[in-house]
Amino acid sequence: MGRTSFYSEIGRNKRNSVLLVVAILLILLVLVYIISEIFLPEYALMLLIFVGIFVIVDAYMSYKHGDKIILKATNAKPADPVKHAYYLNTVEGLALAAGLPVPKAYVLPDKDINAFATGRDPEHASIAVTQGALDKLNRQELEGVIAHEMSHIGNHDIRFFTLIAVFVGLVAILSHIFLRSLLYSGGGNSGNRDDAGLLIIAGLILAIIAPIVVRLVQLSISRKREYLADATGVKLTRYPPGLAGALEKIKKYNQGRMNVSEAVSHLFISDPKNTFMDNIFATHPPIDRRIEKLRSM
């Protein structure tokens, strides 16, 4: 494949993720429109508002406190200033290169090579790497990994993901409410319309596939942002072979057995837990493709 620059990679992935968000919003809008066209029993509106508020508050809570939760769940320990001097210096250096405040640095006890970034904004961010990463990666590879995580912080990906999770949640709940209402009220006040039957069928199909489609789009966004973090990381280190080397080692060594819930696996640099869902429902792009792109920069 021909050579590409990290600038064009950055631009491409930003544009693509915006387009995908628009796609989710459109599906949400269409769903709302069809539901309101078919029927709107009084209680459904109240339920909608109540559930909407619940989804938003839940997302906001996880946005604000999610970092403490995941750090606790993964047994993250703060990095030691003497033992982990190189790691801390690298985090500080890359924060300088990115023009970001220095995130808090943690170490995870796992043997797999992995890392994640969390925190609601760059001023409240944390980075964690596994002991496996510190042991098995050389300096350039570790820098590549940390630069990738720093990029997630700089690109505000945590906020981005939370926002999308809200929309996806809304679509899922709307579809659910719609299907249940159909079941119980059998079409409400739509009986007067000529195209009532067609609308109900369309609504039914949409309500069933919308949650799945929107989830697939969300995963696609997650993959685009991973490519974006790879490319932005290269902008920080100006050394693509660093991250490429780390990914090759990850491919070789990782067992995929970290004890982490699927909900947060998208925050890691590589899928921490291999499950059978990974083929269509992958949060991360295929490792070979990531290495290929990096080697062509």
């Binding site: 003497v82 001097a85 690298t90 250096g93 290169a97 990115a98 023009g99 100006r238």
Partner: protein, 183 residues
Amino acid sequence: MAILWIFLGVVVLFVLILVYYINKIIGVHNRVKNAWAQIDVQLKKRADLVPNLIETVKGYAKHEREVFENVTKARSAILSAQTVQQKAEANNMLTGALKSLFAVAEGYPELKASENFKLFQEQLDGIESKIAYARQFYNDAVLEYNNTIQMVPGRFFAGIMGKTPEQFFEIEEAERAVPKVKF
């Protein structure tokens, strides 16, 4: 009547664009100034390491007078430097003096093995990397600023504001030569 509304709309649009570009130009220019200051922070950190580093090395190699004097002289030059030129020269002097210090330390195996010294080496390596990263960020900031004031339509507003392009941080020609490693 319609023409009046259209005219008003165009004026509002123009004002919005004007505000956007003025703010953008000021923002990216301030980022350049901040980035330059960040380099200074790292250079100062390096200068501050010097007294303790000298004490550590003296503990094992107290007769290497010349090397200590050079490093101390360079640090004093940094502290008393006033202009940008003076500061740059003083920092170059320190870089050279530190290189000699570490070269001399090679001949003292006990010093090299001491944990304190190893920590200093790590800290100095870290600071040199940070200086490099800070300079890289400065150049990135200069690129964005120069692009903003040279491309259309930023260039029209930049002209009114009297903004001129900034210079990239460049190394001396002599430093560009690839070092020859001899064994």
